[in-house]
């Protein structure tokens, strides 16, 4: 028979209480799994670092979208440029370096996306022509100054001041008028 002295509840009652504890325990465990596991599975695979706009724009300001010429990518308001900036953000989040990102854009969209074109092919002219033009200009100026100095009258002739020059001038004017009269 039942030993009601050692146990406060009868055997059937004890089984019910034990079963209740199990049910409550299992339900609690299930609730905890439902609450915490989905979050963990969403976070674990690819923890994406937050990439700031400044980080994106640091690269974007050195690039141009072919759609909106002459507007740097970091300030371009079009949707196309916004998508490009978003792509930069994604690549940065994946751990790509600035050089890798720029190369990716060059491969996809051509050299024209770069603010400073790479020195190859006809692009060399961009780097070579300005220094050559400056050197040429300096040389021409130098030549011109030298020529002017040579063609200037010697100081001895220039020193007798206004009289000679006035006379020369008058002589020139007189001849000029004479020529004009002939015509």
């Amino acid at each position: 028979m039942y030993d009601n002295q050692s146990h406060p509840y009868p055997f059937r009652m004890r089984r019910v209480i034990t079963a209740s504890f199990w049910v409550v325990g299992l339900l609690s465990l299930a609730s905890m799994i439902l609450i915490f596991v989905p979050q963990a599975s969403a976070q674990n695979p690819t923890p994406t670092p937050a990439i700031s706009d400044d980080q994106v724009n640091a690269i974007a300001k050195e690039m141009y979208c072919p759609v909106c010429e002459n507007t740097p990518l970091d300030v371009c308001p079009t949707q196309a440029c916004a998508e490009w900036r978003e792509l930069i953000r994604e690549k940065l989040a994946e751990g790509w370096s600035e050089a890798q990102i720029k190369q990716y854009f060059v491969d996809r969209f051509g050299d024209r996306v770069l603010a400073t074109p790479p020195a190859r092919g006809l692009n060399w002219l961009v780097y070579v022509f300005p220094p050559i033009a400056i050197l040429l200009g300096v040389f021409l100026l130098y030549s011109a100054f030298r020529a002017w100095r040579r063609s200037a009258p010697p100081p001895a002739q220039a020193s007798p001041p206004a009289v000679g020059s006035t006379l020369n001038g008058d002589e020139y004017v007189r001849r000029l008028e004479e020529e004009l009269r002939k015509r």
Partner: protein, 189 residues
């Protein structure tokens, strides 16, 4: 007498400048002008002359298939430039897909979509959104766009069976009939 004065002045000028310096200066100027001339010539000339051979291209689609124009002789090729951010492109998306489904069973008309300055993710979203089934791919390096001198999107170029440019439109198609009226004459011969 005045001639004497002029001559002497010229003589002084000529003597004062070294000849090779002048040659260098004029030569540099000539080279610069030549570069400008050919640059402008290149900008002005393009693939938009009806009857001229269409610029060759190689298009690798989003699913990895490669199409080369020179290998498509005997087919009428419809090349449509578009972008996911382009609203006018959306206007003609349904028309192009309908036209493609109309011509596809014939086998002698090929539609090719070229995503211009677009990101792959957005391009694929666009294709899915409009249910586009004809081959589409990115314009890598914007080489096709440069070859066809496109000025924006959408633009459509239709190339005849001999590889010559037969038709182009620099704005969206307004109806399927409009697309058919551009393609059908090329299938008659």
């Amino acid at each position: 007498m005045s001639e004497v004065i002029t001559e002497s002045t010229q003589e002084v000028t000529v003597r004062s400048r070294p000849r090779w310096g002048r040659i260098l200066a004029w030569g540099g100027l000539a080279i610069l002008l030549a570069l400008l001339f050919f640059g402008l010539l290149r900008t002005q000339s393009g693939g938009k002359r009806i009857g001229a051979p269409a610029p060759e291209f190689t298009l690798t689609t989003f699913d990895g298939q490669t199409y080369r124009l020179k290998e498509l002789r005997g087919k009428v090729v419809v090349v449509n430039f578009w972008a996911s951010w382009c609203k006018p492109c959306e206007q003609e998306a349904d028309e192009l897909e309908t036209a493609w489904r109309y011509y596809q069973p014939r086998g002698d008309v090929l539609f090719l979509g070229v995503a211009w300055t677009d990101t792959d993710k957005k391009s694929l979203e666009y294709l899915q959104k409009f249910g586009i089934t004809y081959p589409n791919g990115p314009d890598l390096g914007t080489r096709m766009a440069q070859a066809y001198r496109i000025t924006g999107v959408p633009e459509t170029y239709i190339i005849d069976r001999d590889g010559k440019l037969a038709y182009f439109k620099l704005s969206p198609f307004l109806s399927v009939e409009e697309i058919k009226s551009a393609i059908d004459p090329l299938l008659e011969d």
